[in-house]
Amino acid sequence: MSRMHLIAKLALTALGLLVLVESLRYLRFVGAVGPASVPSLCSLGVFLLLSVLASRLLFWSEAWVNRMVGTGDEDVRPVSRVSVVGGFRVVLLFCGLLVLAGRIEILIRAAAFVTVAPRIIVNMIVYKYIDEVFYMPVSSWARLIADLSGAALGIYLVLGAPRFVRWQMSKFYAPTPAYK
């Protein structure tokens, strides 16, 4: 992989992450007016569409990278492993920090819930009832899932997304006889 390929790949990865975060915003609107209403279905449709686009940008972007770089790239020297891993980690870290910026509040709420959750669960088991906390409309559940997914994604990205980077590396650097 040449330097231009790496830059194009990193740009598409960043774009894919931002599209993924944008898709989570639409998941929050599902069920806001009513579970089976037209706005909810439209939000679900936009969420699915953006998710497909994001997965394409994140996992299967080789065709787009090749088209962006073109055939005129004369720099055929492969970039080092450190450059690829470092480049991915820097881009993922920046995107992760941006994603987490809007999710600090949900992390605080989640931490506050974790402190009281054991008592609620024990009470539910002992007195055989379901706490009203869990009786939420579909829209609240959708919002909660979207927020928690965003927070988890942000934390994973800030930690460097090791499995994603390893998977990307396995695509660029296929095992050669020298390693066997």
Binding site: S80, R81, V82, V85, G86, G87, R89, V90, L93, F94, L97, L98, A101, I104, E105, I108, R109, A112, G160, P162, R163, V165, R166, W167, M169, S170, Y173, A174, P175, Y179, K180
Partner: protein
């Protein structure tokens, strides 16, 4: 190294202009209400003006450091330990640059949110204003964001060191024979 300094300066100035334009638009949207609006709208306009002034002051300080004190700022971003390194000298620089850029954005968001909270509390004094207190987790979240923004703007030294260490460990692990089976499996 000069190229790196130029790159850092271009990225940071570009980001500064983006933030200023964003807050400038808010200022122009709120300015008419300052003179003609009702009480809540006038409060909104005051919040916009104060946010813009505070963000402008912060960014002016940053850009002053970038343009007039270029060596100080670039040295902060490039760092002393990686100037003479072999082929990974750019890694701490890139992580630090990402941290500083994120710090500028964090600070700009946190400042405007906190100014609007303070504005709401000031508006409480107006008897005609219906005050709806913000949930505590929102306020705590923005205070944490402000703290994180300051830390990131300073280059997040511990975090960057940890990231560089992890990146190099990752590269080393990829070169070990055990990792090949993972690669073949596409993990």
């Amino acid at each position: 190294m000069n190229d790196l300094r130029k790159l850092a300066r271009i990225i940071l100035v570009g980001l500064g202009i983006y933030v200023l334009v964003k807050y400038g638009i808010g200022l122009f949207a709120g300015l008419p209400y300052l003179f003609y609006g009702e009480s809540p709208l006038r409060g909104f306009a005051v919040v916009q003006v104060v946010s813009f002034v505070l963000v402008t002051v912060c960014l002016s300080l940053a850009i002053y450091a970038l343009v007039w004190k270029a060596d100080f700022w670039s040295a902060k971003i490039v760092g002393a330990d990686e100037r003479d390194g072999p082929d990974i000298w750019w890694l701490p620089f890139a992580f630090r640059l990402a941290s500083v850029c994120a710090g500028i954005l964090y600070l700009s968001w946190a400042i405007s949110a906190l100014v609007s909270i303070i504005g709401s509390y000031i508006q409480m004094m107006d008897p005609g204003f219906v005050f709806r207190p913000l949930p505590w987790h929102n306020v705590v979240g923005w205070v944490i964001q402000l703290g994180l923004g300051i830390y990131l703007l300073c280059g997040a030294p511990h975090f960057v060191r940890w990231q560089v260490k992890k990146t190099l460990e990752h590269c080393k692990r990829l070169e070990e024979p055990d990792s090949i089976s993972d690669q073949e499996a596409g993990v």
